[in-house]
Symmetry: C2
Subunit: 205 residues, 2 copies
DNA sequence: GTAGACTTGTTACTAAAAGCACTAACAAAT
DNA sequence: ATTTGTTAGTGCTTTTAGTAACAAGTCTAC
């Protein structure tokens, strides 16, 4: 159904556009232009127009884009027109912060469960959750049909947890462990390692 | 002194190589090859060789790279042959998790101070730190000569905090606030927004 | 000492992404 | 009705990034 293949780099920018539109909308703006978005985001107006035109014609020449309408279209494209449940694996500092993170609200994302292997943590309260035993992970994920997981375990456990998650039917993984994990090509993977981001900048200092 | 301009995308991969080498080193490996690194990282061997050759000839034909030596060279290139002190602004969940984060150890990064504007948080203990008053931020940063900052404040305060940090002499910023912040071109900026990473993957589900 | 298997650094080539410029459409003011 | 300024969408050009192939150096086994 997707006629031409859209480059992943374009897909990567869409959430950025959506985030800006949400903010405009909450401020009461009803229309915007590629130029205004460009100024807001630090991306060229031509780039934004080209990206959006890959998916259809959402704007009106001379007028611009209707904020609500464009946001709605992006929601459909990104499949965030409904809430996605997620699991967190690892109830350490990072996992805990993510479990309490308010930034998923209003962005079609919701933490559903959190797992750990440490008997001292299992059963404990954490935010609105009770930490579950990692040995029940496959069953719980399958039962709920969850497709997205966040890994927040030590690096030496990350690959094993990944393999288990994939067995459970997880299709997208956000990895906070500071190590490269291997996944089959059909599994989506994104990594966050603050030290990596920081070391990328020290070169220029 | 830097003869040719190295693309930023190349700089971005160097910390990845360094991380892999650190791991190899801790496992006792003394030599490696572009092929082994490629397998470890999921990047092509040719790519790795080309990236490294931008900075010099670090390997030996037929043999490969000496792990310690290459790691050392990368440390020099990335200027992480000494520890960089950092400040965190915002002592909420994200800031707290970062203040306690163990992943900066052994990676030439160290949190030195944490600030907040909330009187209820100022003066409180947090990990090994006492949360400082944000109104003292400029003085404290200047006094210590700190160049790197992590922003972990709500989105509506992020731009103001950014401007203050730059006044204080900060040259590199890691932004956790879910909003685009504007900085002058000479300031390095990296952003981490987990929702953005996740929404990038939902498209494919 | 030599054959053969490895591995680097480099060059030539291919593919992808971004930038630019232009056309057509629309709105508002006169 | 006409003019002016604005803006989307698109094709073309330039730039950038990645891949593949190869010569030259190194090591090991015999």
């Amino acid at each position: 159904m997707q006629q031409k293949i859209i480059p992943d780099i374009v897909i990567g920018r869409l959430p950025l556009y959506y985030r800006a539109l949400q903010r405009m909308s909450s401020k009461g703006h009803t229309v915007t232009s590629s130029q205004e978005l460009a100024d807001t985001l630090g991306i060229s107006a031509a780039q934004i127009r080209k990206d959006l035109s890959q998916f259809g014609e959402f704007g009106k020449q001379g007028t611009g884009y209707n904020v609500e309408y464009l946001a709605d279209q992006l929601k459909k494209i990104l499949k965030i027109d409904h809430v996605w449940d997620m699991v967190i694996v690892g109830a350490g500092d990072v996992g805990s912060a993510l479990a309490r993170y308010q930034g998923f609200q209003d962005r079609s994302l919701r933490v559903k469960m959190i797992f750990d292997s440490d008997p001292l943590k299992i059963g404990k309260e954490l935010g609105n959750f009770i930490v579950k035993d990692i040995s029940t992970l496959i069953d719980e994920i399958k039962k709920e049909g969850i497709k997205i997981a966040i890994i927040a375990v030590p690096e030496n456990e990350a690959q094993e947890v990944t393999d288990t998650l994939i067995k459970a039917g997880i299709k997208a993984i956000l990895n906070y462990a500071p190590i490269h994990i291997a996944v089959p090509p059909e599994i989506r993977l994104q990594c966050i390692d603050p030290a990596l981001h920081l070391q990328r900048m020290t070169y220029y200092l």
